[in-house]
């Protein structure tokens, strides 16, 4: 709190407008930034299907555990895909997911 804020508070005056501006701006930008991502949700669904189709050509995927999403952090957006693999199409188990308590691991053991 600055000296000015203190005096304003003591006199019961409104706080300086820069604070209001900052708060309004942060709200509107949070909204804008989300908006830009949500524009792509339709595309994301389409892309998810296509990615799965391609991957499914080579390996058997555990469809129930599939997660494809966009994650934004510090203005950087990344496509994060988690596709647990049950087995290769050839029937051999070549790939294993790192995640140990994953369902696909149990399936493989069966």
């Amino acid at each position: 709190m600055t000296l000015r804020d203190l005096i304003n508070k003591l006199l019961g005056r409104e706080t300086a407008s820069a604070n209001t501006a900052r708060e309004r701006l942060q709200l509107v930008l949070a909204h804008d930034r989300v908006d830009m991502n949500s524009l792509t949700t339709d595309l994301l669904d389409k892309m998810r299907k296509e990615i799965l189709d391609v991957v499914a050509k080579y390996v058997e995927i555990d469809f129930e555990e599939v997660a494809v999403s966009l994650e934004t952090e510090d203005r950087m957006t990344a496509l994060v895909a988690n596709l647990p693999i049950k087995r290769t199409v050839a029937g051999e188990i070549k790939f294993k997911k790192n995640d140990k308590n994953n369902k696909s691991d149990k399936d493989i053991k069966k």
Partner: protein, 271 residues
């Protein structure tokens, strides 16, 4: 030479925040420091860079004629009489917007890169085709904004788009800064704006009536002899852009009157 050329997009999203004024002043300042500099008006709808540089009566050919091969690049470039290191490539007429593609702008900037150390591209307002065309021509960007809600919001949209391109670095210039209003906390502070947009700060430019006067005359402040707050800032931005290690002008140190000092006292943190 071509590979070392720095092609810089000067953009803002919102109109009227000072892109063209910054382009003109930076262009003169860079040219004056010895770097050959071209300023390209990418605002085909509403071109104004020629006016700010006082070159409006000397335009014969435009970027359009170069693309159509009606003339050579040399013929379209308008050299500044007082600053021979600076040349303007004027935008074509608004009808160009219909057929212009990002590749066309790229072609123009490649031609300019063969001859100049710096190419400054004055971008149109908005985030539509005109902006995307200009974007294709550049390797780095300067985002200009004012410490105002609407300008910062629009800058954020532009930065969002720039971040999805290979433009790098993207730097921030905060224009029309009023130290008194910042001191009395009636204006977003430099830290506020920079924090929200999270870009490295290239510099600030103080609000200054001299800017209007220099526009009236068609002589950018960096070309004139006088001393003015904005001129000092433009020179500071230009130096920092060329990698000189000079500190950013701090609005807190501007304004020497008793009132300014009192305002600063009021800003002291009490707890």
């Amino acid at each position: 030479m071509a590979e070392n050329t720095r092609t810089i997009l000067i953009c803002s999203g919102k109109g009227g925040v000072g892109k063209t004024t910054l382009t003109a002043n930076l262009g003169i300042a860079l040219a004056n420091s010895g770097a050959t500099t071209a300023v390209l008006d990418a605002d085909f709808g509403l071109r104004n860079l020629d006016l700010l540089l006082g070159l409006e009566n000397r335009i014969i050919y435009t970027a359009q004629d170069v693309l159509d091969k009606n003339c050579r690049l040399d013929q379209a470039l308008v050299r500044h009489k007082k600053e021979p290191n600076l040349a303007l490539l004027p935008a074509g007429d608004p009808r160009m917007l219909d057929w212009m593609k990002p590749e066309d702008m790229k072609k123009i900037s490649d031609l300019l890169s063969e001859k100049f150390d710096f190419v400054l591209v004055d971008c149109p307002a908005g985030v539509e085709d005109g902006f995307k065309n200009a974007l294709a021509a550049c390797k780095e960007a300067i985002v200009v904004t004012n410490p105002e809600l609407s300008a910062v919001r629009d800058a954020d949209r532009v930065i969002g788009i720039l971040n999805t391109s290979d433009i790098e670095p993207i730097q921030l210039v905060i224009n029309r800064v009023r130290p008194n209003m910042m001191a009395s906390q009636e204006m977003l502070s430099i830290d506020d704006v920079q924090g929200i947009l999270s870009l490295p700060l290239l510099g600030i430019v103080l609000e200054d009536e001299q800017v209007i006067i220099s526009t009236n005359r068609g002589e950018p402040l960096t070309l004139t002899d006088g001393r003015s707050p904005a001129k000092k800032c433009y020179l500071n931005v230009s130096q920092r852009l060329t990698g000189k290690d000079v500190p950013i002008i701090d609005p807190k140190n501007e304004g020497k009157s008793l009132k300014d000092k009192f305002m600063r006292l009021m800003q002291t943190k009490v707890f």
